[in-house]
């Protein structure tokens, strides 16, 4: 059932177009990487602050609010390039453990980022330089760990 869906993906017109083109896959990959840079930056600015390092002295809520458009923009760029990359080699992905690790961690990372982390980061604090409570640090660390797994497993798709 699932396997036939993946076969259908690979035989889709976009999947075949990317697979048959010499340049499409590398270019999509390169843009995917640029998205990774922006996503990394948008996430790190807030997570480092939650961990009590990086842009300390800036209110977390403000950092999170101002990082948000870049976070969402880079996620859109990653999905827009990631989907055609996947379509071009869907069957390989189906038999690839790293692919499944990435795809099962990704929804967890997304949900965590837009629910728990968002709520904690935007909570009103007494002072801008609030050193950050233990909960902040845990949220920052969990976010970093989740996105690290997504990125590392994503890179490993090409090796396994």
């Amino acid at each position: 059932m699932i396997e036939s869906f993946f076969r259908w993906c690979e035989s889709s017109s976009i999947g075949r177009a990317v697979a048959e083109s010499v340049w499409a896959f590398p270019i999509l990959e390169a843009i995917h990487l640029i998205g990774l840079c922006l996503l990394g930056g948008a996430i790190l600015v807030v997570d480092l602050r939650l961990l009590g390092v990086g842009l300390t002295g800036q209110p977390v809520a403000q950092l999170a609010r101002q990082a948000r458009p870049w976070l969402i923009g880079s996620l859109v760029a990653m999905v827009a390039t990631g989907v055609p990359l996947f379509l071009s080699e869907a069957i390989k992905a189906y038999y690839n453990t790293s692919f499944w690790v990435k795809m099962s961690t990704l929804p967890v990372a997304l949900t965590f980022t837009f629910t728990v982390r968002e709520r904690v980061a935007r909570r009103e604090r007494a002072a801008a330089d609030d050193p950050g409570k233990a909960a902040d640090r845990v949220v920052g660390a969990v976010s970093l760990a989740l996105w690290f797994v997504v990125a590392a497993a994503g890179r490993w798709i090409g090796f396994s």
């Binding site: 010499v22 590398p26 990959e29 390169a30 990487l33 640029i34 990774l36 840079c37 922006l38 996503l39 990394g40 930056g41 948008a42 996430i43 790190l44 600015v45 480092l48 390092v53 990086g54 842009l55 300390t56 002295g57 800036q58 403000q62 950092l63 101002q66 990082a67 458009p69 870049w70 690290f148 990125a151 590392a152 890179r155 490993w156 090796f159």
Partner: protein, 185 residues
């Protein structure tokens, strides 16, 4: 001369072991890629701030004081892993068109950063809170963004062998740009 040295370097036991390793090479390569998020990621956030299109309420000096140390750590990781990757296959990278372009742009990005820190950033306390930093700072941010994006793209393309010297015939400009030793054949 350089080629002889690189050929020797690529024949050293550790270079061969790294290239042929099952997990070490992919681990070094993955670290190189993931460090992009830290290095280019924090650089890009700072550049966007300089352009006046991100983090308008965060002073520019907060970025250079608090975030730059993290950028430096990212850069160190990129350099160490990048040099190791080069060491694993020196002659191939030396003759790779994308690698050569990447190195040139890398140097330009470094010069741009040096000019920024020695130049307009010295007067940063005067404009650190400005929504829209002075023109020189905005130019530095734009050049930095463009240069690092190009470094990332050419870096990724190094993996493709379209223009490799051992895949002849190649157009003349490719052979010249890659410095292919055609006379030896």
């Amino acid at each position: 001369m350089i080629e002889r040295f690189l050929e020797w370097l690529g024949d050293t036991p550790w270079s061969v072991a790294l290239l042929e390793s099952l997990y070490l090479w992919p681990l070094v390569e993955s670290t190189h890629v993931l460090a992009l998020g830290l290095f280019v990621g924090t650089t890009a956030m700072m550049d966007l701030r300089l352009l006046g299109i991100a983090f308008p309420t965060v002073p520019v000096t907060a970025f250079t004081k608090r975030l730059l140390p993290w950028t430096r750590i990212g850069f160190a990781v990129m350099m160490v892993t990048g040099l190791l990757l080069f060491y694993s296959q020196p002659l191939r990278y030396y003759h790779n068109v994308f690698f050569r372009v990447k190195l040139v742009v890398l140097i330009l990005a470094g010069l741009n950063a040096a000019v920024f820190h020695r130049g307009i950033h010295r007067s940063a306390p005067g404009w650190t809170h400005d929504d829209k930093p002075p023109r020189a700072a905005r130019i530095a941010g734009a050049v930095s963004l463009a240069a690092w994006a190009l470094v990332v793209v050419t870096g990724r393309l190094i993996a493709y062998n379209w223009f490799d010297c051992d895949l002849q015939p190649q157009p003349n400009w490719v052979n010249r740009l890659a410095g292919c030793p055609l006379g030896a054949e």
